[in-house]
Symmetry: C2
Subunit: 337 residues, 2 copies
C-alpha cells in the first residue's frame, strides 16, 4: 500500500510538472506582483498575507490563467495581473471561510484567524479583494472584468448556500454539487476563461476553457473531499480528518449517510450535525465510508468530471499547453492514490 502511494505521488507530481515548467517565468512575475500588492504601511496586512503566502498551496488557479493566455501566444502582462487577482480572490475566500468554519488549521498550518483573530481575517480578506479588484481593472478588459465579477458573485452565493446546509447530513447530492460548483468550480472556470479573453480569443475558445475549468474544479474539490478521509498526512497540506472535525458536509459523508442504517445515521448526526465527535470516531467514519464505497464513488464522480474537462480541452489548439491542461486533470484526480 505504501509503495503504491509513493508511486502514485511521483506519477501525480509528474503530471503537474509540465504545467509548472511552462508557466515558471510568468509565475515568478505573479509571485512578485502578489508580494508587491500585499505591501502596506499597516503592518498587519503584510504579516497576514505573508503567512498565507508561505502556507503555500499549489497556486493552481493562477497557473491555469497563465497557461490559458500563453496557449494563444499572448505577450502582454495582463495575464500576470489577472492570475494574481484570481489568487487573491481565492485567498480572501479562504480567510473568510476559516472565520465561518471556525477552523484552527489551514493547509496544515495554523489558520490566520487563530493567530490574528477573526477580525483580521475578515478585514485582510477584504483588503485582498480590494487589491484583486484594482489589479483586474488595471488590465482594462471589460469582458475579463465581467467574468471575474460574475465569479465573485457566484462564489459568495455558494458560500452562503454552504452556510445554510452546513452540518446538515441530509443535504441532497444535487444541493452539495451546486455548492461546490459555485464556491470552487466557478473560480477555476473564470481563471481559465480570462486567459483566453486577455489573449483576445473568441467565444468558442473562451467556452472551451471555461468548461474545462469548471469540470476540473469539480473534480478537484471532490478529490479533496475524499482525501480528507483517505489521504496520506504529509501529502495533504491538511490533516486527515480536518473536514470531519470541522463538521463539514462533503460528498463522501452524504453517500455514507444515505447508504447507512439508522444507527449509522445517528453516528453521522452526532459527529457532524452536533459536532460531538470523539477520538475514535474518525476511524469509524472511515470504516463506514469503506463499507459503503463512499470514497470510491466520490473519486469515480471526480474522474467523470475529469473526463469532461479533458473533453472540453479538445476544443483548444493542440500543443504543449493543451497537453499540460490535460495532465493537470490526471494530477488532480491522481492525488487520491
Amino acid at each position: 500500500m505504501d509503495s503504491m502511494v509513493e508511486h502514485g505521488r511521483a506519477a501525480a507530481s509528474g503530471e503537474i510538472d509540465t504545467l509548472v515548467q511552462l508557466v515558471a517565468d510568468d509565475m515568478r512575475r505573479v509571485n512578485e506582483m502578489i508580494l508587491s500588492r500585499t505591501g502596506s504601511d499597516v503592518q498587519l496586512i503584510p504579516e497576514v498575507a505573508e503567512h498565507l503566502i508561505e502556507s503555500g498551496g499549489k497556486r493552481l488557479r493562477p497557473m491555469l490563467t497563465l497557461a490559458s493566455a500563453q496557449m494563444f501566444d499572448y505577450r502582454g502582462d495582463g495575464h500576470v495581473r489577472l492570475a494574481a487577482s484570481v489568487e487573491f480572490m481565492h485567498t480572501a475566500t479562504l480567510l473568510h471561510d476559516d472565520v465561518v468554519d471556525e477552523s484552527d488549521m489551514r493547509r496544515g498550518k495554523i489558520a490566520a484567524r487563530t493567530v490574528w483573530g477573526n477580525e483580521a481575517s475578515v478585514l485582510v480578506g477584504d483588503f485582498l479583494l480590494g487589491q484583486a479588484f484594482k489589479m483586474m481593472v488595471e488590465v482594462g478588459s471589460l469582458p475579463a472584468l465581467e467574468v471575474l465579477a460574475d465569479a465573485a458573485a457566484v462564489i459568495a452565493e455558494g458560500e452562503v448556500m454552504q452556510l445554510v446546509t452546513a452540518h446538515d447530513v441530509a443535504t441532497s447530492e444535487d444541493a452539495y454539487l451546486a455548492v461546490i460548483r459555485a464556491k470552487t468550480a466557478a473560480l477555476f472556470a473564470a481563471a481559465c476563461e480570462v486567459g483566453a479573453i486577455v489573449a483576445d480569443r473568441g467565444a468558442d475558445e473562451r467556452a472551451a476553457l471555461s468548461d474545462y475549468g469548471l469540470n476540473l474544479g469539480l473534480a478537484f474539490q471532490l478529490v479533496d473531499d475524499a482525501l480528507d478521509y483517505s489521504g496520506v498526512q504529509a501529502d495533504l497540506g491538511k490533516r486527515v480528518g480536518d473536514d470531519f472535525r470541522d463538521g463539514k458536509i462533503t460528498l463522501p459523508v452524504l453517500l455514507a449517510y444515505g447508504r447507512g442504517d439508522e444507527d449509522e445515521r445517528r453516528f453521522w448526526r452526532r459527529c457532524l450535525a452536533e459536532q460531538a465527535a470523539d477520538d475514535g470516531d474518525l476511524d469509524t467514519a472511515i470504516a463506514l465510508m469503506g463499507r459503503h464505497g463512499a470514497l470510491d464513488d466520490t473519486v469515480a464522480r471526480a474522474r467523470a468530471y475529469g473526463e469532461r474537462a479533458k473533453h472540453a480541452a479538445q476544443g483548444l489548439p493542440p500543443g504543449p499547453h493543451r497537453l499540460a491542461l490535460v495532465s493537470v486533470v490526471d494530477f488532480c484526480v491522481g492525488r487520491t492514490y
Copy 2:
C-alpha cells in the same frame, strides 16, 4: 434646550430635502435595483439584505452619486447602477464592521450578526460586494471602475488600520483622521466622482466632486462621532453611547484623553482600552468631554471640513444640484444641534 434641538432638527432636515427631492425619481430606481439584486434562491441572502434595507439609513451616498450625474444632465441608467453599487459597498462594510466590533446594534436596530451570526454577516457582506462589482462592470466605464476599485482598496486598508488602533486611547489625531479618511471619506469621494464620470465630464469637474465628497465624508464622520456623546436618542439611528460601549476610539475621546489628567486618562483606559465601563461611566465621559471642549472642538473640526466641501463645490456648474450639495454640508454639520 429641547426647543433648540427641535428647531435644529427641522432646519437640518430642510437642508437635505432639496437633495432628496431632486433625486427622488432616480432613487426609486436605485431602490428597485437594490431589491432585485438581493434576490437569491438562498433564502438567507434576501432575509439579511431586507433587514439591512429596512434598517434604513439615509442613503446619502447613492443620493450623492445621482445628484453628481444629474448635475450634468446625464440621461442613461449608469448612475442608478453606480449608486446601488456604492450603497452595497457601504452595506457590506457595515456587515463586516459589526463582526469586527462585536456590535449588537446597528442604526438603532439589532445588528444582523446578532440575529444570523457572524458567519452570515461575513458571507452576505461578500455577496453584496460581489453584486456591487457586477453592477459596476455592467455600466461599462473603466474610469468609474478604477475610482471604485481604488476606493474599495482604500476602505479595506482603513478598516485594518482601525483594527490596529482599536481601543488605543493614545492614538494620534493624525492617525485617527487617516482612518476616517480611508474608511468613510473615500467612499463619499468615489460616490460623487463616479457621477461626473458616467456623465462623461473632465478632470476638473471630477476633481471638484471628489474633493467635495472627501471633505463632506470627513465632516459627516466627525459629527457622527460627536453625536454618539451628545445626540438626541431618537434622532440618531443609534443609541447615545454606542461607540463608548463598543470601546471605539473617536476624535472626542482622543481630545478628552489628550487634555485629561492622569486620573482621567486611567478612566478612559479602563472604559475603552479594557472595555470595563460601568453604568454611570457614560455620564462621566460626557462630563469630561464637556469640561475639555472635546465635543465642541470635534464639531468645529467637522465644520472646517464642511467649509472645504462647500469651497470645492464652487468648481461645479451653478444650479439646483450645486445648491443641494451645499445644503447637504449644512445638514451633515447641523445634525449636532
